[in-house]
């Protein structure tokens, strides 16, 4: 029984430490994120469900049969946080999903790039590519499929 109590205490201490860590980690989100694609992509817009299917590896080809080349940011910045929050996932949950696909032979993780500048360059020159950047970084080398706005920005716009 003593050991049972100790096991319980260790678990409770771990849980308490975890909650404390969660409260201490600051969270910030970007204002707006643009979903961008290579100009060869046969669609002009994507909705949330399609984006989730693409980024979770469930949807692998565009309607013209061309493979979808998915891009992700290596670093966890505000743009990435807002993008995945819009999909209803955390970056870590998406990573688990991609690792599961990889180790099951069901797909590969997205191509990871270091910066948003590199994201635009890669998407612009890769047929079938899709990615995301902050709205401020959009240029005419890529196609914009969707704009994702943070809740704060939506509230400001409503006022």
């Amino acid at each position: 029984m003593t050991r049972l109590r100790w096991t319980g205490r260790i678990l409770a201490a771990g849980l308490g430490l975890g909650i404390l860590l969660a409260l201490l980690v600051p969270r910030a989100f970007a204002d707006s994120v643009a979903v961008i694609a290579n100009k060869s992509v046969p669609v002009d817009a994507v909705d949330k469900m399609q984006l989730l299917d693409i980024y979770s590896g469930d949807l692998r080809n565009w309607s013209n049969g061309r493979p979808i080349v998915v891009h992700d940011l290596k670093i966890n910045n505000e743009t990435k946080e807002l993008f995945y929050r819009h999909l209803g996932k955390t970056p870590s949950r998406m990573k688990s999903l991609w690792l599961k696909k990889l180790l099951s032979g069901e797909g590969a993780p997205p191509e990871a790039v270091e910066t948003e500048h590199e994201m635009i360059e890669r998407v612009a020159k890769t047929p079938g590519a899709i990615g995301f950047i902050s709205v401020d970084s959009i240029n005419d080398t890529v196609k914009t499929l969707a704009i994702i706005e943070s809740d704060e920005k939506k509230k400001t716009a409503e006022r």
């Binding site: 771990g14 870590s92 690792l99």
Partner: protein, 385 residues
Amino acid sequence: MHSQLLRLGLGISLLLPAVARAQIGDSNLRMFGYFQTSYLHAKDAESDRVQKSFSMQQLNMFLQRDLGSKATAFANFEVLNNFSSGKQWGSFSIEEAWLRWHFDPRLNLRVGLQTPTFNYLNDIKNRTPLLAYVIRPLVYESSFNEIIRVEEYLPARAYIQAYGYIPKGVAKFDYAVYLGNSPNINSNQEYGQTGVDTTASFLVGSRVGLRAGEFGLGVSATYDRYDFPKEINSLIGEDKQKFLQVPRVRLGGDFRYSLRNFSLESEFIRVNYDENDSDLSVDLRFYYATLFYEPISALKLYASYWYVKEEQFGFEEEIGLNGAYRSYYDVDYFFRAIGGGASLNLDDNIVIKLQAAPVRQEVETPTIHNESDQYYFAMGLSVVL
């Protein structure tokens, strides 16, 4: 035996051209894998006997090659428990070697040796970097084969499987249908070739499921025929037909749900044998539930409950004046573990794991009642290569 050699030959002949082309340098052949090394500390509550052991629990290497935009070839080589052929430790096996056609999200076809879809965990039970556990929920823990015959609870192999999902609004309906053999394991050299006899019978199975956002559930079932171990058959004599080609039905259910930083996963499995004899009864039940909490993205804390209940049979053989006399009796086995642990992702490729669980086991026959308590503590390191 001939069919096994033929399959192995076919598998190798499928892989060789890919490897040869890979050497030319124009290939998209990918090689990756992972390993998990662990430390297990087990203590018996009554005798205070302690077992401490380090082990290279598992190492898997994968080869994968896309053959055009619709087909993929995949091979999975698995090494278990400090494998050494010289010292006859552990095992090395081809776990998977299949070719998949991806026609559409609604239809994929996999042909070749593969792990069939049953509940949620069966597909990924050996993908240690995906799991927070060091010791997996009991029937998924192949290294605990001495405690529980895991191959009875789960379909181990299939050779052809169709699967996919059908989208309906925000929901996706998953399905998988597969065919395979019903492996019968012989570990006693007195009764012929040891290993898995995959020629005995036929297995058909399926899983249907529903996913919607962070919610998922599924129902699984398999039907096959099972030969009870040859040691039993040889003793049974004139009654042995009752123990051959016994129909076996597995039923499973799985449930997953995530809300903010919490997630819950749970499964049940029930295995029932139709022994053609009312005197004998085999009924196996397994249930587990795990609640995870992720305070930060790299850290998972969890509490888990595992429960196993088996109604099996035993038999006694006595030599009387008129020859061998056998009597059967019921054997009830009960296992329960309530534990918890943590896993920390140091980065995308390295996971450190801790786990602790007090375990209770009970065995009951008409004449014996045994109870025992053990405490397990385990540490693990999982690395994606």
